[in-house]
Structure formats: structure tokens, C-alpha cells
């Protein structure tokens, strides 16, 4: 059986590893250190952990100051609170000056579950990717989150890593290649491409299997880096499969699918469909219920694939 693990655990484990290997790494928390898994770092490296309290704007700029002294600060809280409440701090102090601040945005997507709309971040990909200098990574499982976090410490400048609350299947291995800005094809296919990020990679793989049974060959691309985006992989998918479905656990407007569409439309227009939140706020419920409620599950992807293929063959 596939191992189940929350992406936030990958983040927490990577921070501990960074604590051991990179003395420049410091971590800041805003009264959510357990939930964001930064507690693990805080317990091992108390001198390099700064509790800032429930003060996200202050936390982001304190991190900015630490980065100006050569530290590599990781700040973490829920995506809504960091990308929303501290957006101006991220924009003007951090991104404008290309400061070396890393942001761990927890509780991305409706799969956060019962806490409901206030705690389900559905807009951060949009809010972060519009900022010059910002890099945006949405890893598909815990192992990839670990790699993304380790990588974030290496690259220069601001980076946003989005992760989730719930345990999800671990679909990559330690030796699965992971490179910033380089999409990974998880399944070959020639009729349609399912381009996904985060948990939706998993749903896309399920959808591809279902499609195969219906005689449709679907390619699945894990586009973990939303910015800088892998144009080549997207254009190749457009050319070779002639139809694309973008899948995200996030608002469609301005988000991941929009980023994919920007590349498609300009370089090689093919019919597209979007799986994602359709201009609604989240709801309370179990993660499984919510994935269905918001039309994010593999059956929704299958349906969208059939539609887009009809359009393609028009």
C-alpha cells in the first residue's frame, strides 16, 4: 500500500536537516509552530528559532532583516495569513529587494477540511506568482516537499512553498529527480495532458488510469514549480497531445491553470480545461467530501478530459 504522509511533515523534516547542515538557516514562527511542523526545528535549534507571536507582518519583515545579515530565514504560517495578510511586506520589502526569505505556506487548499473557508488558502499561488523575483513551488507529496525545502535554502532570493494539512499518498521516491523550474512527466500519453501541482498530481494519476480503461492515453505532468514555469514541457505537451487540462487545489482565476494557459495561448494554442476552485470560498467538511464538493476528484478530471477531447476533434 502507498505510504500516506502530510506534505507539511516533509517541510518540518527538511528544516531539521537544514538546521544540522546549514548554520545560516533560521526559522520564525507565528504561534503555529506545531501545525506548520517548525516546532521540530525549534526544539533542536532553539537559538535559531524566533517566535514572533500572532504577528505575521512583523514576522515577514523580521525575517527580511535577518536575511540582510546573511541568514536564510524560513517563515511559516497558514497560507491565508502569510500570502494575504503580509502580502505588502512580501512585495515591497522582500521581493522588490530580492531578499533571501523563504516562505512555508501551510494549509493550502480545501483539503484542510473542517476548519473551513477562513483557513483554506485558495489564492496564494496567484498572490505570490505575480511578484517579481518570487519563486513558487507546489510539491506533490511529502518527499517532494522535503526536496523543495532543501532546494529553497540553496537558491537566492524569495521563495514560496505551498503545502497541505492532510496525509496524502507519497507518490515519488527519494531518487525521483527534482529540479526547480523543471516539470516531471509521471506518465506518458498522447491524447491529452493532465498538468497538475500539489495533491492534484495524485488525482490526475488516478484519472489517467481511468481514462486508459476508456481507451484514452493521458500524459500526467507534475508541474511542481509554478514560477519559474517550465514553458518547454508545456509547449511540448500542447504539441504532442493537442489538449491540456490544468489541475489545482486553488482558485482557477489567476492561479496555476492561468499560468499554464499563459504559456499555451502564446506559444501553441490547444483546447484547455481547468480543474480547480471555481470562484467560491471553501467549506467545512472532510477532505474527501470537499475534494468531491469542489469538483477536484479524478472523475471530474475524466469528465473534463472527455469534453476537451470532443473539442479537440471538434
Amino acid at each position: 500500500m502507498t505510504e500516506m504522509k502530510a506534505t507539511r511533515d516533509g517541510y518540518g523534516e527538511a528544516l531539521v536537516e537544514l538546521g544540522k547542515t546549514n548554520p545560516k538557516v533560521v526559522v520564525l514562527g507565528a504561534d503555529l509552530t506545531d501545525s506548520t511542523r517548525t516546532l521540530w526545528f525549534a526544539e533542536k535549534f532553539p537559538d535559531r528559532f524566533f517566535e514572533i507571536g500572532i504577528a505575521e507582518q512583523d514576522m515577514l519583515n523580521t525575517a527580511a532583516g535577518l536575511s540582510l545579515t546573511g541568514k536564510i530565514p524560513f517563515v511559516s504560517t497558514y497560507g491565508v495569513f502569510v500570502a494575504g495578510r503580509a502580502w505588502d511586506q512580501i512585495r515591497t520589502t522582500i521581493c522588490y529587494a530580492n531578499l533571501n526569505v523563504k516562505i512555508g505556506g501551510a494549509h493550502g487548499g480545501v483539503s484542510v477540511g473542517p476548519d473551513g473557508a477562513t483557513h483554506q488558502a485558495l489564492e496564494e499561488i496567484t498572490l505570490m506568482r505575480v511578484l517579481p523575483n518570487m519563486k513558487v513551488i507546489v510539491p506533490c507529496d511529502a518527499i517532494e516537499t522535503y526536496k523543495a525545502t532543501m532546494l529553497a535554502a540553496e537558491i537566492k532570493g524569495p521563495a514560496y512553498i505551498r503545502f497541505g494539512r492532510e496525509k496524502i499518498p507519497v507518490i515519488t521516491k527519494k531518487d525521483t529527480p527534482f529540479k526547480l523550474g523543471k516539470a516531471a512527466t509521471f506518465r506518458e500519453g498522447k491524447d491529452v495532458s493532465l498538468i497538475a501541482c500539489g495533491y492534484m498530481v495524485c488525482e490526475s494519476l488516478k484519472a489517467a488510469e481511468k481514462l486508459e480503461k476508456k481507451g484514452v492515453s493521458a500524459r500526467v505532468i507534475n508541474l511542481h514549480t509554478v514560477k519559474p514555469i517550465d514553458k518547454e514541457a508545456i509547449i511540448k505537451a500542447a504539441k504532442e497531445t493537442g489538449a491540456i487540462i490544468a489541475c489545482e487545489e486553488h482558485q482557477i482565476m489567476g492561479g496555476f491553470g492561468s499560468a499554464v494557459a499563459e504559456v499555451v495561448v502564446e506559444n501553441y494554442p490547444v483546447p484547455m480545461r481547468f480543474i480547480g476552485i471555481q470562484d467560491r470560498f471553501g467549506e467545512s467538511g472532510t477532505p474527501e467530501e470537499l475534494i468531491k464538493e469542489f469538483n477536484l476528484d479524478s472523475n471530474d478530471i475524466v469528465k473534463a478530459a472527455e469534453e476537451v477531447l470532443e473539442h479537440k476533434h471538434g
Binding site: R48, I52, N61, T62, A64, G65, G70, D88, Q89, T92
Partner: protein, 288 residues
Amino acid sequence: MEEKKRPDIKKLEKEATEIRKDIIKMLGEAGSGHPGGSLSSVEILTGLYYYKMRHEPKKPDWPDRDRFILSKGHICPALYTVMARCGYFPKEELMTLRKLHSRLQGHPHMLYLPGLETSCGSLGQGLSIANGIALGARLDRKDYRVYCLLGDGETDEGQVWEAAMTASHYKLDNLCAIIDRNRLQIDGFTEDVMKLESVKERWASFGWHVIEIDGHSIKEVMDAYDEAERTKGKPTMIIAHTIKGKGVSFMEDKAEWHGVAPKGEQIELALKELNMKPTKEQLEEAEA
């Protein structure tokens, strides 16, 4: 702590007048910008750059330099002038303020101009950054100090008070902040827009050592910086009482001169006034 040799106060007063003239000229040339808060903070900056701070204009990246974090970014004409006069960049460049491709952006951008510690312009953010630098200095066991200038209206921002808590929580005695208490913001007097008083008690109750001074007295400014450095176990806030638009009579104490550049005759009039400006000593002589 060994106190630095004090520069001659009369010389610094003259320098302050020259700085004010440069501010008027560069704003006049730019055709826009913020004279009021630039003119009120001249002595605050002079005390730092000509006396208190350890810095090397020719080596702006010197790791052991004291840091100045401007939080109220709109008064950069004053900062640019002080930096140019200290030798960070050629004085002629001041006249490029706010022009296309200038290193002197309308609000400071650290990636364009060496010597700037941050990019700023969105109010309320500088004190948090200063905290982060002060924490970094402590981690590195460095003894450089961090200074941060805020506007009084700026302290309406909630983030300032978040930072006030963080600084005292972490006992950042390597940090000294200054409020330019010119009593005005854009929409009028601070006490009408959003009451700030009692500024002193508020900061003290947040755990800060508070010093109140006449922000146009070079001596009081230098004394306050020395007292801040001697203060251990808590951060220091200097409340510098100033006059917005200081030195140009028609700008003084007027909210209207917050963000409008002088033009034509106004420039000439302002410079003429500043040229005639008697020093404190001359005034005292005249009085005697």
C-alpha cells in the same frame, strides 16, 4: 562604552542648513516629492551620519557598519542628501531624483543605490526589519548598532506595535528607534487623524527606554544617541519633537507641504530664507 569625539556643533548646524538647501533644490528639480518630513528629520539624520554611526561611505558593504533603516521612505530626499554629502555617491546625482533610470528612486531602492539598507515606502515596516537585523547581529556576536527612523503618523500602523513588542521581548538593546514627532501626517494633525498621545507612555509601557528631545537641537540629538547606546536590556525610542517643514517659514507646521514640491519663486524664497538663517549662536548673540 567609549564616547566618540563630538564634532563641532556650529559646523553641524551649518551643515544642516546646507542639507536643507539641497533638499529644496532637488525637490524643485524633481517637481514632486516630500519636503515636510524631509526637513523635519535633518538633525536626526545629521546626528547619525556625522556623529553616531560607524560607517564607511566608500565601503557601504562593510560588515561591521552600524545600520540605518529608514522606515518612512518618503523622506528619502533628506537621506539621499546626507548620503551624498558624506560621500556615498556624487552630489550632482541628487538632481536626478525621481527621474527615469535614476538610482534615486522616489522611494529608496537598495538594489539601485549602495548604502541604502532596505527598499521602503510602504509605511509601518522598518522597525520589524531593524529587529531582524538586530537579532542577526546578536546571532553573529557583532556589536554594530541598528537605528530606525519612523514618522509619527506612521505609528498608526499596527505592525509598528507588533515590532515594538518583538524588540522589547527580545531585549534588543542594540536597537535605537527615532520617531520624528512633527505632529503632522497627510490628512492633518496626528491628534486629529488618530490620537497618538501619550506617545511617551505608550512606548514605555511596551517596554522601551524612552528619551524625549528637541529634534532640532544637534546637541540633544547626539546626547540621546549616546544615552541609547548606554541603555542595556531594552531597546530605546527617541521621541524627537520637530517642526514639519523646518527652516522654510511658509512650509513650517503645514500639512499641505507634506508631499508637494516647491516651484519657481517658492524655491528661491526658501533658499533665500535658508541662506539668511542665523545660527543659534548668532541668535543668542543678538539677544544678549
